[in-house]
């Protein structure tokens, strides 16, 4: 069920009404709503999801006992086997075949077409389950009290398809107080504002630029240098607005229900370096990678070369998490190299005694400009349909073949520049949101506010109902 579909809006309204009408039944209402939300995508995948969640729940009972390690191993095996099978088995098979120079026949099996449909949100719930198993095993988190509580925690419909990745320590305590959550108007208004912001990003921005991006990347090997840059710029904004739209709607739904979900994005294209970028882009995944991969590998408390290796390894794993393709792996590796390179550069600057320069405003703007373009280059690997497409586009992006603009190129570059300005505007609005929101409610007559809300609702309804709702990019992960 897509957040940008009329069906979901009706579903959400029904859940919201029931949730506040029956405070004592909230856990049951959410459990059923989550089941319905997931079953809508396919009953088989819902049953699989529930079986995995139930298995982990029962296995987690033994995590703090004498056979804790065994339980942890078993739990991780269940989660990773499910993830590996659905997401990576065909990729692994193809690579093994390629190495051996042979093709295994799958005729007569259920995989004759050499593809396995990916259950929605499998990467997100797998990471959440792994975090839960590890945290309970380490004694940082008490196991869930009931399967109902565990199911609601893992499968909450607001985030099960594409995050944010919730942590037990943050979320389970909220569920334990769920029946005492009161209907608070300011919070509900804030929730609606987040949902509208997400819908605006999806239907007004993403839906408009997606056709250009799809068209350019579908004919990647015919693009000029300028077109390759345009395609990459537009994709950078498409993926940001698409994913942040989903995440903001998830946070908004959380507010409607009185639950706090973490924000996943903080205007990431205003980052001056990789470390800052990963604190602002897909924040809950970055934190997960840090806590469950980078730190266990030794983090920053090991020899320098190990830190670089850990950074590269952690980011490469992040790339693999995104998808079973070499382009995603290269994208992760690329960001790992950027992170390691930046660490090296930062150390060099400090050693030269130029530390003050890092705080210089012009240097900061220049860094943001450079790092934004490095990010855009990375998106080519992420979005390209094949390795050869990515290499072709990157070659063209060196502009060695000359620069030629058409009117459409200039128009699309202006669109990209406009989107960047919108990104800056978003930063300004978010950083002053509380003040402006109060000023808006306090100073603007309610009749004017009402007219503005009605216009927004009508425009969004128009765009929402215009055609088939398109999926969010991160649903595929």
């Amino acid at each position: 069920m897509l957040f940008n579909s009329p069906t979901f809006l009706i579903f959400l309204a029904a859940v919201f009404a029931l949730y506040y009408a029956f405070p004592r039944g909230r856990m049951i209402i959410l459990a059923l709503a989550n089941a319905a939300f997931y079953a809508y995508a396919g009953v088989g995948y819902f049953l699989l999801f529930f079986a995995i969640v139930a298995s982990v729940y029962f296995i987690s009972k033994g995590l703090q006992g004498p056979k804790g390690k065994l339980a942890l191993g078993l739990g991780l095996a269940v989660v990773l086997a499910n993830l590996l099978f659905f997401k990576y088995s065909m990729f692994l098979l193809e690579n093994i075949e390629s190495m051996l120079g042979m093709t295994f026949s799958l005729q007569g099996t259920a995989f004759a077409d050499r593809s396995i449909a990916l259950p929605i949100g499998i990467s997100f719930y797998s990471f959440q389950l792994i975090a839960y198993l590890v945290d309970v095993h380490r004694g940082k988190l008490k196991p869930s009290r009931s399967l109902l509580e565990f199911w609601v925690f893992i499968s909450l419909f607001a985030h099960s398809a594409a995050g944010p990745i919730l942590r037990g320590n943050d979320f389970i305590p909220q569920l334990r107080k769920i029946s005492s959550i009161l209907f608070r108007t300011p919070r509900v208004k804030l929730g609606l504002a987040f949902i509208l912001l997400g819908l605006f990003k999806k239907v007004v921005i993403v839906e408009q630029i997606a056709p250009y991006v799809n068209d350019y990347f579908s004919k990647a090997q015919t693009l000029s240098g300028v077109e390759s840059w345009i395609a990459s710029y537009l994709f950078a904004f498409q993926i940001y607005f698409d994913f942040s739209a989903y995440s903001e709607m998830a946070v908004g739904i959380g507010f409607l229900l009185g639950l706090r979900l973490d924000l996943n994005f903080k205007t990431p294209y205003l980052s001056a370096n990789p470390a800052e970028f990963w604190r602002r882009w897909h924040i809950t995944l970055s934190q997960w990678i840090r806590d469950y991969i980078f730190i266990p590998l030794g983090g920053s408390r090991v020899a320098n070369w190990r830190i670089y290796a850990n950074l590269i390894a952690a980011m490469t794993i992040s790339g693999i998490w995104h998808g079973a393709a070499w382009t995603f792996i290269i994208w992760g590796l690329y960001h790992g190299l950027l992170s390691a390179g930046h660490r090296l550069y930062d150390k060099g600057i400090k050693r030269l005694g130029w530390k003050d320069a890092l705080n210089n405003r012009i240097y900061k703007v220049f860094s943001i400009f450079v790092f934004f373009h490095l990010t855009v280059v990375g998106w080519v690997f992420f979005r390209a349909n094949s390795w050869s497409d990515a290499v072709y586009m990157l070659k063209k992006m060196t502009m060695m073949d000359g620069i030629q603009f058409t009117k459409q190129h200039l128009l699309l570059l202006a669109v990209a520049a406009g989107l960047y300005l919108l990104h800056i505007l978003e930063y300004i609005v978010v950083s002053r949101f509380k003040r402006w929101s109060l000023a808006w409610q306090f100073n603007v007559p309610s009749i004017v506010r009402g007219a503005v809300y009605a216009i927004i609702a009508i425009v969004l309804l128009f765009l929402l109902m215009k055609g088939e709702s398109s999926s969010f990019i991160y649903f595929q992960f």
């Binding site: 009329p6 069906t7 009706i10 108007t185 300011p186 208004k189 509380k434 003040r435 109060l438 000023a439 409610q441 306090f442 100073n443 309610s446 009749i447 506010r449 009402g450 007219a451 809300y453 009605a454 216009i455 609702a457 009508i458 309804l461 128009f462 109902m465 215009k466």
Partner: protein, 385 residues
């Protein structure tokens, strides 16, 4: 600028809190006035949308094809508005014309379309005068769409006492695969006549129709039912297209010049789409030809009412090779015999219109449409028999 706004815009929240009484701040944060006004404006917008959309928003001598192309549900809106117009004006004696692009008037503006001239003829003083002719034709309308439209008219209480159906030779060419014989209105046929829909479904599915069933079908129907109650959604295509059309000088679709003033490439004249239009393969004129099947259903529907059929001709010069093909000639004779057997009033128009009055292989110029309207009206009133 309002002095208060100017002042408060510059203050920060802490100072706002200091200056504003707590009750006011609380009212601002907890108040529902903004949302209540939003709801009020939203409801008002529904009335405004309903008021704004009238028959002439979606129809001018023919339906607005840009709107229809963007959303085939617009046909339902046209029929709804027609019903309202008929009721408001107390019309009792009118005719319905349903045909394909020839009857719609491709390559010409609405002011020079068949609908306009037929309406002029029918409403002029004389024998068989009508109060109006409503042209529900559209490009690619098939016999199955025409049948569905008649059922939609019944449902809205629009009388079908006088019906004119426009066909072309190509209407009888069987799809194997090809153009499905309920091209636009499959979903409407499903609602209006489920038994017929079930029968024709394999043919429709074989030719690109997607039948949404089960939970998805229920969901689709429920969303449609809800959105029908919200005019701003119901008119989501109509309103923007109507605004866009305001700046247009003409609603002509295509090139209105006569065919001999234009160039037709060899590629186009030898394309499968063009050649299939004139397919000389012998027609099967039994119920297993879906056009025959739906024409039979239309004839059944029109029992005791007036039904007139015209079969538009093709350009005898541009398409000389095709229209003189013995297979084509034999098939035209089969169509003639079939319509005679069906017992309806009909006219076949091959070679009855000067090739100079064609804009291409089948569509007509302004003068061509005028002549076609005259021929139809004369046949309808019995003058041209």
């Amino acid at each position: 600028m309002n002095q208060e706004l100017n002042t408060t815009a510059q203050i920060s929240v802490p100072s706002a809190r200091k200056k504003a009484p707590y009750s006011k701040l609380r009212k601002a944060r907890y108040g529902y006035y903004g949302i209540a006004f939003a709801l009020l404006f939203f409801i008002l917008a529904q009335f405004a949308a309903s008021y704004m959309v009238k028959l002439d928003t979606v129809y001018k001598h023919r339906l607005n094809y840009d709107m229809f192309l963007a959303d085939s549900k617009v046909m339902g809106i046209v029929v709804d508005e027609m019903a309202r117009h008929i009721k408001d004006n107390g019309l009792t004696n009118y005719a319905i014309l349903i045909g394909n692009s020839v009857a719609w008037g491709t390559n010409e503006s609405s002011d020079h379309s068949l609908g306009r001239y037929l309406s002029d003829n029918a409403t002029a003083d004389g024998d068989g005068k009508l109060q109006a002719v409503f042209n529900l034709s559209a490009p690619s309308i098939m016999a199955g769409d025409a049948y569905t439209l008649l059922l939609m008219l019944d449902e809205r209480g629009i009388k079908t006492d006088n019906v004119m159906i426009g066909l072309t030779y190509s209407s009888f060419v069987e799809a194997s695969p090809g153009v499905r014989k309920v091209f636009w209105l499959g979903d409407d046929l499903k609602k209006a006549d489920p038994a017929t829909f079930k029968k024709v479904l394999p043919h429709l599915e074989a030719n690109g129709y997607k039948n949404v069933t089960g939970w998805k079908g229920t969901e689709h129907n429920a969303i449609e039912a809800i959105t029908d109650w919200v005019p701003v959604i119901k008119y989501k295509t109509v309103i923007p297209e109507a605004i866009k059309a305001m700046g247009k000088e003409s609603d002509v679709m295509g090139d209105p010049r006569a065919w001999n003033e234009k160039k037709f490439s060899e590629k186009w004249i030898t394309s499968p789409q063009y050649l299939n239009f004139f397919s000389p393969e012998p027609f099967n004129m039994t119920d297993s030809n879906w056009t025959v099947y739906f024409m039979n259903r239309i004839a059944e529907h029109q029992q005791g009412k007036r039904l007139f059929v015209f079969v538009a001709g093709s350009n005898g010069e541009l398409s000389k090779k095709e229209v003189t093909n013995p297979g084509y000639v034999a098939n035209m004779e089969k169509i003639d015999s079939y319509l005679a057997e069906l017992g309806v009033d009909y006219v076949t128009l091959q070679d009855r219109i000067d090739p100079n009055l064609f804009t291409d292989h089948v569509h007509l110029t302004k003068e061509g449409n005028e002549l076609l309207a005259r021929i139809i009206w004369d046949a309808w009133t019995g003058k041209g028999a």
